[in-house]
Amino acid sequence: MIAAPPRTRRSPRALRSLLPRPRPRSRVVAAVLGAWLFLVVVTAVALSLGDEATSPAALWAALQGRGPENTVYAVLEVRLPRVVLAMVVGAAFGVSGGLSQSVLRNPLASPDVLGISAGASVAVVAVIAIGSLGGPVGVVPVPVAALVGGLGAAALIALLALGGALRGRRILLVGIALSAALTALTQFLLTRIDVYDAQRSAAWLTGSLNARGWGEAMPVLVGVAVLVPAALVLAHTNRALLFEDDVVAGWGVRPGRARAVLLVIAVCLAALATSAAGPVAFVALVSGQVARRLAAVPDIPPLLAGAAGASLVLVADTVARTALPSQLPVGVLTGLVGAPYLLYLLQRRRSTRGTP
């Protein structure tokens, strides 16, 4: 049997009191709590805004089904499904981006770069094209096509990257190459279909929450409910993967297997979110980086990346829905809101610490 490790002498109490405990990681906990509090506030604001603004008291009543019928209808039937959809889509993209960035140890690794978006896009445009070119219309629903396309692209990348270790650079380059090919195919299909269908495709390709509700939200909600806890259980392993393989293996983690499992979770989350809302630009990439900087730790806490993603999509969609003259697709706004915030964080970081 394996003997217990020899115990070393206890350090003097005086000395130990000088050493702050490395856990709980108070900064991380504070950042997570702050981010979720922010999300709650944003959610309340999003539920209050619409054709007619609702006061906090009226909102509280409406959420419990009390108050004027048209307010209850506006809050529960019109705004709530869309707000929930924005949150789960954002959270799914955020967790997905955070996982892929930390697993592949590369800030550029995100589902868009890994080809999930390109795969989903080509599948959706292909389905629309079949209808447009005289084939059967609506045989495959758009969300199903997107899901299959996204997962298919991921499987293809896994296959092409096989042989080499499942490591950052190789898998990223394979993803970029495949994305380029699939995007070219999408562009080709767009030139072959009629104008109306091309416009419909373009709206989907930007990422939009217009005219969507519980039907789209439910599959993502279920996916998030299963996959995010799985990511949290594996967070301990995820933190180890920041180190090189020989070090990680020395801690009793099988790096290859751990990476594969975490990437599968990331890919499924991204594919589900894409199926519901289209490839909403930039959310996955920016959420992971924002989370990493808010927590000031080398790893990316999934709960923080999820909150960042949910907040970003919700803010972007609420602005797109209420503040602008015409309802813009949310994908236009996520880039406009997310990019400056990331640039701000990068600037601030550079002034205090060497490299961003």
Partner: protein
Amino acid sequence: MNTVITSDARLRADAVNLGYGDRAVVRELSLDVPDQKVTVIVGPNACGKSTLLRGLARLLPPASGTVLLDGRAISELPTREVARVMGMLPQSPVSPEGITVRDLVSRGRHPHQSWWHQWGESDTEAVADALRATGTEELAGRDVDELSGGQRQRAWIAMAVAQRTDLLLLDEPTTYLDMAHQLDVLELVATLNRDHGRTVVMVLHDLNLACRYAHHIVAMRDGEIVAEGAPAEVVTADLLRDVFSVEASILADPLSGTPVIVSHRTVQG
């Protein structure tokens, strides 16, 4: 595998072949690592020292043969269980950006934790002890990136110490260090062995340091063990000529009495 174990060494290699792809590096090698001793593997470049160490640490699965830990094939043991008994420090490991010494050292507790038990009193104690034993307490709050080579190496060794394993495998822990830091690191290793009874296996380039700090020297050439034993028995002028292709005189260290090598010239194969 029901091989009868005759040796009682905790870590053994039994006729292992190790390599990368088709390239065989270590051939039919058998080794008993003496318990609670410092074993140093020496040999010229590309003789398979590091490969052997990676094989012992189950980072490289053998093409054939078995590495045994406590009488069981290491490849069949749960990896986490192995990590609680045997620690491994690769050569000049790279730390992720922005990680502090304390965070690095606390990672050594990884095999003792799980997602539901992330941090306990014993972990705090192990980390504090490791920082103290390696003299890195005052560095604890600093980023590993900012440290000098010697400090960084001490921080990494502290990580391995915090893992509290009976066996510790170190791949060239003195690489890139100046003379004083080399001695610091090796004194630290000697202390871990002497005071805490840890079994140490390390790869070293410097033969004089190997002679001084090893209880047991393993000399390798072309993936095979040429000689092993106490430094005074193993390190001879013949061995230096045969293994390292160097003509040298062997003197005795006036303080420790261990062999000291004075090299004169290289000899052709």
